[in-house]
Each structure stands twice: as structure tokens, then as C-alpha cells.
Amino acid sequence: MIYDGFKAVAVLFVAAMFQVSVLSAYSPLGGAPDLVLVALIAVSLLRGSIFGAFAGFGAGFLIDTANLSTLGFTSLLLTLAGFWTGRYGETTARDRFHAPFTSVAVITVLYGIGTVALHFVLGEATPAGAYLSGLPATVLLNLLLTWPVYRFTRRLFRPLDHLDRVHEVRLLG
């Protein structure tokens, strides 16, 4: 579990740096690909809700710090995103092929709406129309990122079910 923690820190740190320095400059088709969100969803699906919540909090803190924006803003949203994705993985669909794609599509939409809502709650003027009109493109771009990111993450975080699987049954009677 400790090694998993280090690996999650490394993956999300690289994703966050790449996101704030490079990816945020591009908006193909009007969308904004979010590598951190996709990486977080992949990690959370493979390691569960509590791990996902901690990973989300840390990734959000990194992004807020790097952008010099309001601390806690992205942490709050990514904590919830990590927790819910992890819960989804734990309860129903960790090993199903569609799980990462479904999670990325749903969480991207919820994350987008949550971001706009939180800006409104804080009383900050927000171009909600422009942002929400680009949301379908953002979902599409995130879905394109999902397969490579999930494959890479799955290599790093081997599914727990396989490790925990009982290899031998000893007959007592």
C-alpha cells in the first residue's frame, strides 16, 4: 500500500505538471483535456474510494498551488471525484472493460458542472455558457486519453483482486 502511495504521487505529480504547463494551453474543438482527472479516475478505479479521495486531494492541492489559485478549490472537487470513482470500482465495475470510459465520461461532466457551481457559490464571475458548450468536446478528449492512461496506470497498480486471489486450497477434513 505504501508503494502504491508513492506510485500514485509520482503519476499524479507528473500529470499535474504536464497539465498546468503544457496541456492547458490547448483547447482542440473548444474542449480542455484534463490529464489529471483521467489519471485520478484510473488510480481510483484500481485502488478504491479512500485511496482515490486522498489522491484527489493531493492532486487538487498541486494544481491550485501551481496555478496560484484559491487553495482547496480543486482539492474539494477532485477529492469527491476520486472517492466516487473508487466507490464505483469497489462496488460494481472494476474489471469491466467499459468501467474507465464510463467513469471518465460521467465524472468529467460532473466535475465541469461542479467547477461552475463552485465558482458561482464563491461569487466569481464565470463564463458558464462558454465552458459548458465546450464540455462535450472535453468529454471526448478525456475519453481519448482514457485508454493509454488506464493501460499505463494498470501496469503500475496491478489489480488487487489478482494479488489477493487464493492460489491453493488446503483440505482439512
Partner: protein, 279 residues
């Protein structure tokens, strides 16, 4: 999970309502800085390659436009040189006192851009801070035109609010028709600008250049932006019978989505703290 949500909410509240967490944020940002610079360096060859390819495809069309523009600018330059000399002489004779103008009354500090803006967050982080003499509300430009103002300052990093941010407003004027003075606000899109509060009787044409208007003479609320900083070109002018003002769309000269370096203007004379400033 509940603990993390509460911690996030606490951070959000404290960070939003006060500057108590600024030292923590400043320290953490300085720790992250080398990694951001590293990521920028790694990405630069790919960006350059993309930019080179894009430039190659547009080279012929761009060449035609630029050739026309050079001819026009040569004619304008010849006329302006004579007017400039005459203006300087007349000012001297009249002992005319002007408000600070760009670029003569400002020193420039060049800074690398670390982050890019997003649709919802029209701010960027630059690699220069209070150690370099930067203060809140300093104006940020590039060689092409106006970028925004400094909104947060740490020791070696600063946050710049772009002119496309909903909270930003700039007193601006149509360079070709100097009577048309208004406020430049963000438009409906994340990167569009609107020149507002221009009456229907004022003449503004598509293709006109918009520059900062500076402060009104004797104003108690001086503008943050000195006069004569290029902002953009008027792309369309609309007029509705029921509206009081014209609907003027402006395309900024600066591509705010992909900035690499910017210039921060430091006033040669310190700002007067007693006066409040109007954006």
C-alpha cells in the same frame, strides 16, 4: 473522506477570505517552480515543431497580408514622424504636463510564463515576483499588446489576471476615432472582448485599432493602464434600436492562450497609495 472534504472546505474558506495561506502557497509554488520550468522545457520542442508547421502552411497568405501592412505602415510612419516633431515642440512651448504614457514612463521586466489560462481561469503564473520589484496592479504586456494586470505577488512568482477575465475592465479608445472612449470588458466567449459604453453617435469601424485610453485629465480615480498600449482590432460593430450603446467586438492582438514570455511594466514614479485606482 469526510475529513478531506472538511479540510478542502477549510482551505477554500481561509484562502478565499484572507491572505493567511499566501506564505504557504508561495513556498509550495517555489518548490514546484523547477518542475514547471522543466515541463515547459520538455514541451518546447514539440510546441516549436507545431508552430513551425502551422507557420509553413500559412506563410504565403501571411506574406501577402504583411506586405500590404508594411506599405501602409511606411506611409503612416512618414506622416507621424512630422506630426511627432511638431507635437514635441508645441508641448515644450506650452509646458504641457501629461499623465504617464507607455513606454517612456515605465521600466520593463521580462518574465517567463509558467502556466496557461483555461476557460474558467483566465489567469497565468509568471516567473517573477516581489524580488524583481513587481507589485499588485502592475500592467503586463507583450511586444504585441496588452495582456493584463498583476493580481497576486509572491517572492519569485506572480499571478496575472488577463484582460479576458470577467473581473477585468480597461478604459480603451478607438485609435482612429479618438472620441470613441469606452470600457473593454470580457465578451460572451472565454477569449472574446467587447468595447462597451460607446454611444451610438460615435463612429467606430471594423478594422479600427483599439488602444488603452489612460486616465482622464484631473481624474481622482486614475486608470491602472497607461495610454497607448495596443489592445486589439475591432472585428464587428453592431447596433440595436433598443440598446443605448454600440455592440463592438474586439479581437486582441496577443494570443493569450499561448504566452511564453511577458513584460511587466514598473512605473518609474511610485504609485500614490492614497488614491484608489479604477481599472
Amino acid at each position: 473522506m469526510v475529513g478531506l472534504v472538511l479540510l478542502s472546505l477549510t482551505l477554500l474558506t481561509v484562502s478565499f477570505r484572507s491572505s493567511a495561506l499566501d506564505p504557504v502557497e508561495g513556498f509550495a509554488a517555489s518548490v514546484l517552480r523547477p518542475f514547471e520550468v522543466g515541463a515547459n522545457k520538455v514541451a518546447r520542442p514539440f510546441r516549436d515543431a507545431a508552430s513551425w508547421t502551422h507557420g509553413l502552411f500559412n506563410a504565403k497568405a501571411e506574406n501577402r497580408v504583411l506586405t500590404k501592412e508594411i506599405e501602409k505602415l511606411r506611409r503612416e510612419n512618414a506622416a507621424l514622424t512630422g506630426n511627432g516633431n511638431q507635437n514635441a515642440q508645441l508641448k515644450k512651448q506650452l509646458h504641457y504636463v501629461n499623465s504617464p504614457t507607455f513606454p517612456k514612463d515605465y521600466a520593463e521586466i521580462a518574465a517567463q510564463v509558467l502556466t496557461s489560462p483555461s476557460v474558467l481561469d483566465q489567469t497565468i503564473t509568471i516567473l517573477a515576483g516581489s524580488r524583481q520589484g513587481i507589485a499588485v496592479d502592475d500592467v503586463v504586456v507583450t511586444n504585441d499588446g496588452l495582456v493584463g494586470t498583476i493580481s497576486k505577488v509572491f517572492a519569485s512568482e506572480s499571478s496575472v489576471t488577463l484582460i479576458t477575465d470577467p473581473s477585468s475592465a480597461v478604459r480603451a479608445v478607438d485609435e482612429q476615432n479618438q472620441a470613441a472612449i469606452g470600457m473593454l470588458d470580457h465578451g460572451s466567449g472565454s477569449t472574446s472582448l467587447v468595447l462597451d459604453q460607446i454611444g451610438k453617435d460615435k463612429l467606430v469601424n471594423a478594422g479600427d485599432e483599439v488602444i488603452t485610453a489612460g486616465s482622464q485629465a484631473g481624474s481622482r480615480l486614475p486608470s491602472l493602464f497607461p495610454r497607448n498600449i495596443p489592445i486589439g482590432t475591432v472585428t464587428s460593430v453592431g447596433q440595436i434600436d433598443t440598446a443605448i450603446f454600440k455592440d463592438i467586438q474586439v479581437q486582441p492582438f496577443v494570443d493569450l492562450s499561448s504566452l511564453e514570455t511577458v513584460l511587466v511594466l514598473i512605473p518609474n514614479q511610485p504609485k500614490t497609495p492614497a488614491k484608489k485606482t479604477l481599472k
